[in-house]
Symmetry: C2
Subunit: 469 residues, 2 copies
Amino acid sequence: MSRRQVVETIRVVEARRPEAIGREVCIRGWVRTRRDSKAGLSFIEVNDGSCLGNLQVLAPASLPNYETVVKHLHTGASIRALGVIQASPAKGQATELLAQQVELLGDADPNTYPLQKKNHTYEFLRTIAHLRPRTNTFGAVTRLRHRVSLSIHQFFHENGFYYIHTPIITSSDCEGAGALFRVTTLDLEHLPRQQGRVDYTQDFFGKPTYLTVSGQLQAEAYACALGKVYTFGPTFRAENSNTTRHLAEFWMVEPEMAFYELADNMNLAEAFLKRIIADALRDCAEDMQFFQERVDPHLLPRLQHVLETPFQRISYTEAVDILSRAGRVWEFPIAWGKDLQSEHERYLAEEHFRAPVILYDYPRTIKPFYMKVNDDGRTVRAMDVLVPGVGEIIGGSQREDRYEVLEERLQEQGLDREAYRWYLDLRRYGSVPHSGFGLGLERTLLFLTGLTNIRDVIPFPRYPGHAEY
Amino acid sequence: MSRRQVVETIRVVEARRPEAIGREVCIRGWVRTRRDSKAGLSFIEVNDGSCLGNLQVLAPASLPNYETVVKHLHTGASIRALGVIQASPAKGQATELLAQQVELLGDADPNTYPLQKKNHTYEFLRTIAHLRPRTNTFGAVTRLRHRVSLSIHQFFHENGFYYIHTPIITSSDCEGAGALFRVTTLDLEHLPRQQGRVDYTQDFFGKPTYLTVSGQLQAEAYACALGKVYTFGPTFRAENSNTTRHLAEFWMVEPEMAFYELADNMNLAEAFLKRIIADALRDCAEDMQFFQERVDPHLLPRLQHVLETPFQRISYTEAVDILSRAGRVWEFPIAWGKDLQSEHERYLAEEHFRAPVILYDYPRTIKPFYMKVNDDGRTVRAMDVLVPGVGEIIGGSQREDRYEVLEERLQEQGLDREAYRWYLDLRRYGSVPHSGFGLGLERTLLFLTGLTNIRDVIPFPRYPGHAEY
């Protein structure tokens, strides 16, 4: 015991580097596999989550607990091993640990532990979401998700933005777009009623409240005071859609910039997306290589291409024109004024331009009230960024900054002017041109990993019928 | 117009630096005040949120729109000004802008704009939460909140942690501690019933669900796979407490570390808190000076003291002993086995030790089931960090890593074993010693600003009866 205190504990990621050779160290982690050699030693693959790769621990039969402990180490058991890092003759690893001491911390019964050496389906792993981070795929997703989140904060900080925590519980509904989760402390078994209807004055907030679908409107209040801000937090959709592309709870980043017009917004979106890709390729190289090899063989070339290609910018009207003349039969027919569908977006990005595309100036009738109306009166300053492989990944707009026009748009879309009184105030006092967009973190992770089910890029996915853990 | 395109637009924070002198620039922002001099020019104080200080814009009467626009600029109006930065003879500013052009973007009617030059009470400003970021205090709070959030991410990233997004909607209740918000899509006017009771199988998730009170348990699943992780996200309490210290929705950071014992946990908490303070003092110097001058004259010395002082570490039992012999009459009498109250915590930190204090080893009966039971059987490896001025700011523990003991503790506290089956699995398979703690972002901001009402350090506070915006 006294010995262990002077030996430095390092992580597997450090122990795998050639610089570690010759050091006496302690490592701790979980056994991935154990193989006993007839030469009188065991090879234990240990992972501690610090990187994808394992550290190979050589446990000689001379260890006092070799027969009693080492030869019974199972997949999933936690151990502490002390020894010297040496150069490894094996392929794919620069180093290994020659153990002088191996200690079992916690066992994992091979008869019940669900993660055995064999490959498991994503479906099965979803049923053990508390254990799946112990697999290569979910370890890699976790490290990448961390890296992307950090890039988001770094990018905005370096560009003079402030991180704003917009509220999760809200009494306003950003887009007038249904599908909200209600938040309440009322006793549902004994609802208070007033004239036959539920009496929300007795609810916690004294009125009906919901989970937010976007922090945009509140972020605008801060942009119109502090210049450039962003939100990054959970958002919610109560849509009953059981697809591989939808979650009831997901993370979204929403920058909002005073004095930005639509072209500035496009420039920012392009620089932002490229920064995220570049950071992932550089700092998660081992994990990205794993996705390339195990998930999607076209992944790295596709990301490299997006990184190096200027985003094509075309108006919605031009896009409709291209799609009409594409000589295809569309499942959803093309016509000016109709929203584009996934098949159209993917055709533009993957076949026509073979590049990321920014579509802008959409018909006013298919976009929310807060988007700035163009001089033509028919279109608004919306923009959607489409990328090969995923389709729409960013949606944004220049915001309507004219009080009267905004008021008219609220009315046009049947929204309650009183509920948006504070939002109108931002145009009443010191109004400025401003713009912003939203990027879904999970969509971005699908794009970066090649995984196809959004439930596999968030730790504990929430979707209809599923809120375990 | 063509001219403006070649002139660089910079922010006020840059324009205020001596290095900017001589540059021809464009700045954009909001008018704080305007003063007309008889010498034939106007002084316009412009703020754009990039820093606390304003840029003084000198608008000479020779401007073509001097009489029609400049002399009518009101507090709150947004403008664009183009000119040359020159050295300023005025006190408290190195530079000023001699305007060649001043353009009004959006006016603010002085008869209705609520933020006039005079000081406003915090109470009043809470009623205009969408406009209060335009004030000095809330601008400073916003910049500091951003800096602290970034320090959190940087500190953990640099120390090998991964950021985990634990779920907001959950079917499990972390501490068995009531006061939850329910999340539902059921139609409250027409609740489905089964045998007289509400039928939650028809709810969105097929069972009752709530807003999370902590991401700790889920973070443990990731720590027990990836080593060191942290969550940073919104958490919720449906307590009907209308105090200056409680919010229904607030942000919490919760690190969780495999292989950390209680002493490691204390070391991390101390280093973490000191890092946050150091970053704030260094990077938000102007804003911190403002809080010192306008909010709390003892603020900076207190923070400096906490930064430089090793945190005192004493057991709960020792603390009870000190408090019993303090020779005071306590509002809440002291006895071993009772929880400490704010008066006790503040006495220890502010009077007895005059230093931050980490209390540890609390009676098992007053702490949650997941804390590791000490060998004495009476105490658990809990720790609370107390700081002068605020009291408890961090709470944490080493977690119970023994399957049987954890099972027993669940039973002891009357919790449903089945609901914690997945949590027990973490001890069943490859269990490791692990620890973690929680830090409330808003409590930290009270500590860093000297502000006394927690509703003033979050953009849109949620508390009983209030969920506007």
